[in-house]
Amino acid sequence: MTTTAPPDDNRVATGAALDFTPKPGAAPATRMILAQAGHEVRLMLRNPEQLLLTIVIPALMMVLFSGESLVATSGPGKRIDFYAPGLFGAAVLSTAFTGLAIATGFERRYGVLKRMGATPLPRWGLIVAKALCVLCVEVIQIALLSAIALAMGWKPHGDPLAVIVLVVLATGTFAGLAMLMAGTLRAEATLGLANFVFLLLLAGGGVIIPLSKFPSGVRHVLDALPISALTNGLRDVLQHGATLPWANVGILAAWAVAAIAVAARTFKWE
């Protein structure tokens, strides 16, 4: 053991010579954010539970429901034209709400957020990176679901820009609600509740069951849910060729502002 080695003593025979001489500095913000977003996308796509939730379940539902008449559809037109927009909504919900809530809940529990707080990546940078990660996974989901739907004879209408507006506003809403849940509840409670809410909204959010099947009193309440505004809005555009469904965009925008504001006030990093 050499405790008195002079500074230039190259006694680290094994391993390359390392020079720890301080040379501190943060990487440029965009590089940090892109690195963090890429890191989170890789982790999310590697997690089997997340893949089941975000990719496998929506894709299976697309194939099963659109192929044979398992659930009656509303109005004329092909079954796929009804289900494709609904399942895009389910895909956005699974990633921006359920997946994000569960991942963030466990990151808080494992101290990952605390550790990130010691790196040069600022908190706002971490939030931007998480948003990019969610949007990136959504692009993958919608591309995959679109491919399946097109193969099953789906004929989309409308303006893709309107779809983007709806998806981005819904993502903001769901992510705000996810952070609200993950930032205040224990990780296990978040895991259970996020999955439960996902199932409830699949049933009552116009994803697979047309909202017209509900009694009108209930229907008015369900129409105001963000998931219903998303699925209704997507159908207005993709099924009926609307330019921009203002009512649903308005509902989503209001939800997004409220959810993000409440989450920002309640979120605890540790």
Partner: protein
Amino acid sequence: MGQPAVEVTGLVKRYGAKTAVDGLDLRVQTGTITAVLGPNGAGKTSTIECCEGYRRPDGGTVRVLGLDPVTQGEQLRPRIGVMLQSGGIYPSVRAVEMLKHTAKLYANPLDTDALIERLGLGSAGRTTFRRLSGGQQQRLSLALAVVGRPELVFLDEPTAGLDVQARHATWELIEQLRRDGVTVVLTTHLLDEAERLADTVAIVDAGKVIAHDTPDALSTANGAGDTEIRFTAPAGLDLAGLLAGLPPGLTAAEQPPGAYTVGGDVTPDVLAKVTSWCAAKDVMPQGLSVGRRTLEDVFLDLTGRELR
């Protein structure tokens, strides 16, 4: 030297009704290794976390590299490295992946392959964090703290749970950090670690620094320069008989049973008399040693011996 790397003055930190840190002062000179020692609950981690910007002080001031860790955190964080007590790493992340990702957050990171090799993590590179051994997890945490080439690192119990080889490898790395000009602040429970590594040792108890000096000075000042003869032998030796044959002013004690110390002005002659007394009784003084009081003795004297 100039400005100290860390300057904590009158720090107070409360959690509800409990005061964890109670007027603590600490100065860390640039380029040194400072060990913060103290019993569990003494306020070590709270103090370090105030320096890292995780906690807002309830009183006093904290300056790290001349900056306020709470209000100037964005400027400070690229310049410091932090090793937390418990990983803070997602269980499904692979070791190398985590290190390479963290390196991307810095402008001039170390070569990650060399660092992996240096810390003996080469075989664990593709292993996920949850499958790493406790010691490998600790070493990865250390790597994450130094990869950004910081000026100052805070290491919270860097060798907890390490085996002997890994502990020595970690000590050598920490010593190289100092040689290369990095300031190191570490907390530890291990007195031999503090004694071997640290330039200065700050002993914290009940939220205050109760002693801060070099390990040598601490041992000398608090033991009045006394040396001791220590040995183990069958319990119940006749200590009064032993003292009768020694010069006046010496003390002899048996605590716990079978562990003997002879203290005071220990000269070679005293040593010879103790061993011939043992020889006359046909007692072998096992593990016989002559030495200064250790840092452990000083620590126990200062912080009390009761369990908490």
